[in-house]
């Protein structure tokens, strides 16, 4: 699974992307976030504020219950401030 991080999330985690092998028991976006938090304090602090997390699966915005598979590209970022 390809993971992309942007803006404050990228800075908190300390990298802009990584490739992981998704454990079989992780089926949803929220499951993925919990799994990543088990990898280190940097993920815990990056995801600390639920309402400041946005997720796109294969470049489409999704909710926390959206399904994920090892073939997906997942982007995690704070609320957008474009325009």
């Amino acid at each position: 699974m390809n993971l992309l991080y942007f803006a404050m999330i990228r800075e908190s985690i300390g990298k802009s992307s990584e490739t992981i092998d998704l454990p079989d028991h992780v089926k949803s976006v929220s499951g993925l976030l919990t799994y990543l938090e088990s990898k280190g304090d940097n993920y815990i602090s990056a995801f600390a504020q639920d309402d400041l997390i946005r997720v796109a699966v294969n470049q489409e915005y999704v909710g926390l219950n959206h399904a994920v598979t090892n073939a997906d590209e997942i982007a995690i970022f704070p609320p957008m401030t474009g325009g």
């Binding site: 803006a7 970022f77 609320p79 474009g82």
Partner: protein
């Protein structure tokens, strides 16, 4: 329909020209340009850096242009969004809409701007004399989008 995500500046006259060239059926052109201001709230801004998610940014701009196009009788629409390092006075974003009538052109341009604020994957980082920080999203922007 034309969208672009780019570092280079844009020229409003050229972008309008692309939509109006050789046409005599356009009655209304609305444009909106967003620029970097030297003050944000009580902070002096030295520089604004726009980070973005490239592939998705282009897709989202296309989606927003299509939504506007489906909703109003437009003859053309352009959206250009810059990224990278910008200084006060620099252009950030341009929207141009053309239509037979003024309401469609105005409303579609406003709609696009409201959607860009919440749905375009760009993130602003401000450099001030006190340091560097990410700009927080405004909940009022969600409200503005929701009115459509």
């Amino acid at each position: 329909m034309h969208v672009s995500v780019q570092t280079e500046d844009f020229d409003i006259a050229i972008e309008i020209g692309k939509l109006t060239h050789n046409r005599k059926d356009i009655g209304a052109i609305a444009t909106f340009t967003g620029l970097v201001r030297d003050i944000h709230g009580d902070k002096k801004i030295r520089k604004l850096t726009l980070e973005h998610f490239p592939e998705m940014a282009t897709k989202e701009l296309e989606k927003i242009a299509r939504l506007a196009n489906d909703r109003w009788p437009l003859q053309g629409i352009s959206i250009i969004h810059r990224y990278g390092e910008l200084l006060p006075g620099d252009n950030i974003v341009l929207v141009v809409t053309t239509s037979q009538h003024r309401e469609a052109a105005f409303e579609a341009a406003q709609f696009v701007m409201d959607w860009l604020k919440t749905d375009a994957p760009f993130w602003k980082k401000e450099e001030t004399p006190e340091g560097v920080h990410w700009v927080a999203a405004k909940t009022e922007d969600d409200d503005k989008k929701d009115r459509w």
